[in-house]
Amino acid sequence: MKRKLPHPPRENHPALWRSFAELENTPEFAHVIEREFPGGTARNGSGLTKRDFVKLMGASVALTALTGCRRPEAQLVPFTKGVEWSVPGKFLYYATAMPIRGGAMPLVASTVDGRPTKLEGNPLHPASNGATDAFAQASVLDLYDPHRSRAVKRGGRDVLAGEFEAYLAQISEKRPDGLAFLVERKNSPTRDRLRGELEQRFPGLIWSEYEPLGDDREAVTAAFGPGVRLVPKFERADVILALDSDFLSSASEYGPAYAAGFYPRRNPDQLGAPMNRLYVVENHFTCTGGMADHRYRCKASLVGEFARRLATRIVDLTNHSGLATLLGAAPQTKADFDEKWIAECAADLARNPGRSLVLAGGQQPAWVQGLVFSINEALGNHGMTILGVADEAPPAAPLGRLVEAIRGGAVKTLFILGGNPAYNAPANFALRDLLTRVPEVVRVGLFEDETSAVSEWHVPAAHYLEAWGDARTFEGTYTAIQPMLMPLWGGVSELEVLARLGGNAQPSGLELVQQTYRILSGAASTDPKDAVFLQGWSEFLRNGFLPGSQATAKDLAFRATEVVRLAEAAAPVEAGIELVFLQSSSVDDGRYANNSWLQETPDFETKVTWDNVALVSPATAERLGIRANNFGLLQKVTALNHEVDFDMVADLITLNAGGVAIEAAAIVAPGHADDSISLALGYGRKGVSALFENVGFDAYPLRTSESPRFRTAISVSGTGRTYPLARTQEHKSMEGRDLFREATRERYKKNPKFVQSMGLVDAHNPPTTSLYEHPRLTAPEQWGMAIDLNTCIGCSACAVACQAENNVPVVGKAEVRRNRDMAWMRIDRYFAGSPENPEMLAQAMLCQHCENAPCESVCPVNATVHSEEGLNLMAYNRCIGTRYCANNCPWKVRRFNYFDYNQRPLEELYWGPLAPKGMADSLKMVKNPNVTVRMRGVMEKCTFCIQRIEEAKISRMVQAGPRNKYDVPVPKFQTACQQACPSDAIVFGNIADPKDRVTRLRQSDRGYVTLKYLNTQPRVTYLARIKNPNPAMPDAAMVGMANGPAGGHH
């Protein structure tokens, strides 16, 4: 079919078209559009019709990486004319940032034809190491989510957007009393500025911020006074103790650079700085706990008591009087701890004053955090491993104060900007009922959710990739949030709402941010004709941040008396079973519940997808009668080996506290604390979206404002019913196969080649030889990868990045249950040691690109062959789907499209041709155009991001021009997983280049390949994990023993 562009564009034709049907503008297509947008964008009166939307999509490519200058909309041109800087098929990159609770995650967005398809960390930014986390990777899918709300609603009916604008103007003008705001925590100077303006305009205004998760700042404010933030310096710490603190996976809180200093100190080979030592005390396995040199299982509610006992020891060792005073005030709870563990840990900390670091989870009670600050003070860590910086964000009222005001009838108009408080507010506030008592609730949100249901107004919000904004990162750098396209469905940004309320009739997000920028940068004006301003502003957008805008350092003046007051107010902890509320690794606090990429990303520990589960320790499970392996029999769980999860059904239990009961599916989690149950938040929502209907269990009803981390004195009973779970990995043990290899630092020093002596067959076989000569791979680039298990925390950022980069389909819970997940990159998780307190081993697993790949020889049609560069290629259009290659892959990394996952609704896969075909147009927009979207019946697998390799090779050819292209090196590039990795555990490069980092890593003493004896010559090298145990600790003998005490010699 010949593509005909309407030229000149006629009135009734869209200037840009996404499909031929649209181009032809047939009635049938109009019908399709009608079905596609049931809410009706064209009817919301914002003036943004779908036609505009496609125009605007094109418009956004006018943003350029070179000038960073966004053209005024008036000059936008349709795609039928060439858009400046836009080269078809080439990505344009823009700096932006994702707002997170602790500030912002600096990003670079790749856009193609005006639509962002992939987000990466911004390596230029001081608060980023170029990495991201899984949430940031997946947030681009939220942008295109067809379930996002599209229409302004008042009282449940669609109204024109103009009506809402008029409403805002009316409030702004009449200045009624009883105005209140409930917003998400952000660190946005523009928002703060607008808030300041509003507070002047509306004197009685209540500005409340609420986050269900994230750090509680109460303790910091108490201990160090207002306006201070703590910035831990992991790179300076030799000994780290994390008390219920998952600081390694806190990218969603502070950005990936927060803990970046930790990883270089894990390197046993680094000269100069010694390898650090990590102690972790926690109730359930976190990524941080998996990395720990010593991990202690402790109920979350007893972490305070644990800290108190530790502090007692530290007082003995340091004679610190302030800490001693605090200890007198701290509540005492009866608990049995391993006193030797505490004593030796305390001794280790005390031996390293000023070089140690004790961290408490931000959700622990304030007195516990205060106690930990006090311990750091006693250890002399403040100013050394913990710095203070000024926190410029003005304080906000806690949710409790807003609730009181509502109860008192003082709130007449409540703006809820973002968040979903009706769902996730503490249960004791009963906010959902309370909101009905507020006369006017205005809700701006991405989705029509629980809060929208109790609000008078629901206004679609703009995604952060659709609206101007700004933020300060955790250490204070002023960061730009640039939109990539105009709001797809007419959403409004928070800043625009605030500006309208402030009397600005036609607010422009761009101008609002420019004004803030002018103030912060000290520029004279925001006049676009002002060359100085323009220069600075362009650089700000291009780099994504304002250089030198970090918050000023502040001396940490520890206020012991305030902390004592906190401790005095605290009560001892009730005994019995506790319920611990976790941040979900998939949906955070519930905000990503509609994100199918994240829903299908297995939890790093349980490998459960599409659900949250109650985690119970083996002993507690046995006591409560929770079946371990769901085999229908109560199996002993004392052995990890030969343990089979057959059908992946879990027992449903009831958790009851204070007359409120919730149900949850329980599974046995090795390494979990006894008498403790952990349940992630954010699931179990009903009647909101088809995607997460009947997904998981809601823990919020048991969560109160007094203790956001845990609830004590829970009564647990079985229901006798079971619940199906979809897990991507059933087996827990490595079965002694030494796929993951580790040792202690001491043993590594003694025998640097220890990895070579491991592996069931590898270590004993004579070197494998071949009967014949292998074809020589002649290309100058030979691609390879090294994965450092010492720093891989198993966070899944790489897996989601891979999904985003490579258009990996989502298959849905039912298909995951049938073992048909499509992940090209997965994190294999094993446990080693006793089920009570094992080590957790996370191993990123992807196509090994074997030089002698067993998958290749079995393909009858040569659909998978080898490239000259050592890549194991996959030709989708040649594949007929015999699945033989997948069977013959020892790593089982090949994935088969059992259905047309991209074309059919996941719940109707079994309907075949009877199900509607095609995917939502907006979801097509998130696809990477450089990667084939695979059809059913073909095999797929990791390609080492061949599209990026080819792109780099093409740009080399462009550079070389008429010269021999091989004289020019291939420009630096990264694979998607490598780029996302917050801990720099994945290194990709040319192994034929002796100077390349990957080559050096491959030759490292720690380097090994899995299943070496098969002689497939994998191109993926793993670097063994080295643990740094304290020999005096009681559990020292169990550390670094994943390969058995003999270290692999079986």
Partner: protein, 186 residues
Amino acid sequence: MENAGNPSAPLYGVGAEFATAADLTRAAREIRGAGYESFDVFSPFPIHGMDKIVGARRSPLGRIVFIGGLTGFLTAVAVQYLPSAVIYPLIVHGKPTGFFAIPAYFPILFETTVLFSAFTAFVGLLMMIGLPRFNHPLFNWERFKGVSGEGFFAVIESRDPRFSTEEAGRFLESLGGSNVTVIHED
């Protein structure tokens, strides 16, 4: 003597029926002994040793099948080796593409050889025995239908230089043949 077929049509030969395989064997030996060349004996099953008696040479089918098999073998070589090693060489499993790749080609070399041989055997058989042929003068002879049941027949054909209807009929009768019949071509 009875007639089979249209008496005005050209003569095909004279046939007689015998009771048992042993009778037929004896008759065949006699007919041959009498110097007849163009005659044939018909039986429901192949009679052991009859070839020697009637003086037939060994069937050349074996040699034809060998040629067929050789064709199959060479076809397989051409289809496998040339494209894989010469025209479209690819790196597969790090295995050699040249001469040392040959072990992998063995199964198909064998199968194709067998396939071609079998087809040659079948087609060669049909060609040699003049089939398919849906009509034949012998089918004009009603009693001849017994040949596939339990009938044994001998037919002396008219193209034999020594053939004479009367003599042949009498001769067959003298050998113990019954129902001696003159068979016409249609």
